[in-house]
Symmetry: C2
Subunit: 315 residues, 2 copies
Amino acid sequence: MGTPFELTILGSSSATPTSKRFPTAQLLNVAERFFLIDCGEGTQIQLRRNHIRFQRINHIFISHLHGDHYLGLMGLLSSLHLLGRKNPLHIYHPPGLKMIIDIQLEFSGTVLNYPIHWHEHRIDKQEIIYEDDWLKVQTILLNHRIPCCGFLFREKPRPFSIDKEKVLIHQVPVSQMNALKNGEDAVADDGTVIPNEAVTRGRAISRSYAFCSDTRYDERVIAQVKGVDLLYHEATFMHNLLERAKVTHHTTALEAGRVARLAGVKQLLIGHFSVRYRELDELLNEARQEFAQTALAEEGITFQIPEQWIVQKTI
Amino acid sequence: MGTPFELTILGSSSATPTSKRFPTAQLLNVAERFFLIDCGEGTQIQLRRNHIRFQRINHIFISHLHGDHYLGLMGLLSSLHLLGRKNPLHIYHPPGLKMIIDIQLEFSGTVLNYPIHWHEHRIDKQEIIYEDDWLKVQTILLNHRIPCCGFLFREKPRPFSIDKEKVLIHQVPVSQMNALKNGEDAVADDGTVIPNEAVTRGRAISRSYAFCSDTRYDERVIAQVKGVDLLYHEATFMHNLLERAKVTHHTTALEAGRVARLAGVKQLLIGHFSVRYRELDELLNEARQEFAQTALAEEGITFQIPEQWIVQKTI
């Protein structure tokens, strides 16, 4: 499989939970960085059930302040504290969340043993809110009843992987290694050009995941998620409840499929299902009318994007 | 069984939930009045799993503002709203809770469709916080790290049940019915005294339940729960962790049994178990060393206090 890029679904329900479905929460593992995306009530229970070690999570992204997307946060922060966390935790959030947490810490008489770094994101324009040597996270502007944004996780271009044996055979100078990693050809000491593909195994294609939590169908979203490997898009209702979807600022399964098709993504996951749907196959089938590569974002399922290697030089 | 007086356990875990145990929440049904006692994270999920209709709950009692006792409240209030509630809801709570809920309603852009009546309870003295024609609820002062109180539910003295056939036979005047209901003898029109027990079936004994959430072992608690039918007392640790219990303001299973014995209660339930105990039998056995009539307050279990009838007149 190579370096992991995998998404585990912890909750798939909209507004009110059911006896089987939890509200929205997902865990994304990109190269052993663990990102928690939304944190509905019961997320810590779902983390335990999925055998995910709480303390590996260093970054939490909250899309908006409807309860089904953040009410599990206070309990999780408290458990991290009780379980002895010392490492900093980063929380990316819309305005208001820090105040909500602070007041609860105050009344519970709790001083956390670890620092929280609060990163309040803008609600009026896209921005990069996280970046390290491996990936970037950018907000996605959505269209909901209250300020709400999605998140686009994208790996940075990966270096070309040098084949040590071939490098020896071709006598590539050490000074040329960075050029090779960048996808350029190497130049030997005698001036001979050694083609990149002769001494590297190529590179892994950078992968991407777009999380679109609560939103109306909105064409502006399509441009922002163009061509991603995996798109999660809410699909609260069937299309026969389109008017209800519009009023509540949600999307139908058919519309979610349309977003995926028009954005040319590779795979679509739908979730945030209304409690009225006991069986989810009808939602799935409806989305597939627009976009065949659709799956249900159900609790406990992990979706993997395997590494794919190419030898071409251009990114 | 007669009129119900029954307690359903929705959560038994302390501070952090496990994959099987939820934080504290209980539902008490007294004569078809449904009282929710504490409301840890995931309470609405547990209500669904136990097939309890949310809208039957009109009164919620919160013992204190540690997250494992109230973090499920915001989600429940929101679900009641989304499910169309119109009826008023009463919340009995320590200082601070209203502010915590209000700020979350504000940021989620929610105006509830039903009114909440907030009843802030005193933390320095016992008081009656609820009363109707059937029962009273009084606070129990506990000893915890932050302001915390328990709740004592006690039925009012029940009226004597009139035997209509015997009343006809003895020709009891209608004007004497209230006297009979109050346990007094009746007087016939000719001055003859008709003993109460000759024309009534006696009355049901009033029942009582005491809920003692988080507290250190404290003898002042014993006086407040004297002789109740059912006592719930936290038992976070085994007695070999007594020092840990003291530091964290909790009780050991042995101490919980001692409270029950010294208070002369009829039955004890222990709960609020530390996550370190996977099997709970050792806690149960330890409490039983002090008090044999002990049971575990485990998720999904309902404890009933059947009606008992007596014919004696004095209360």
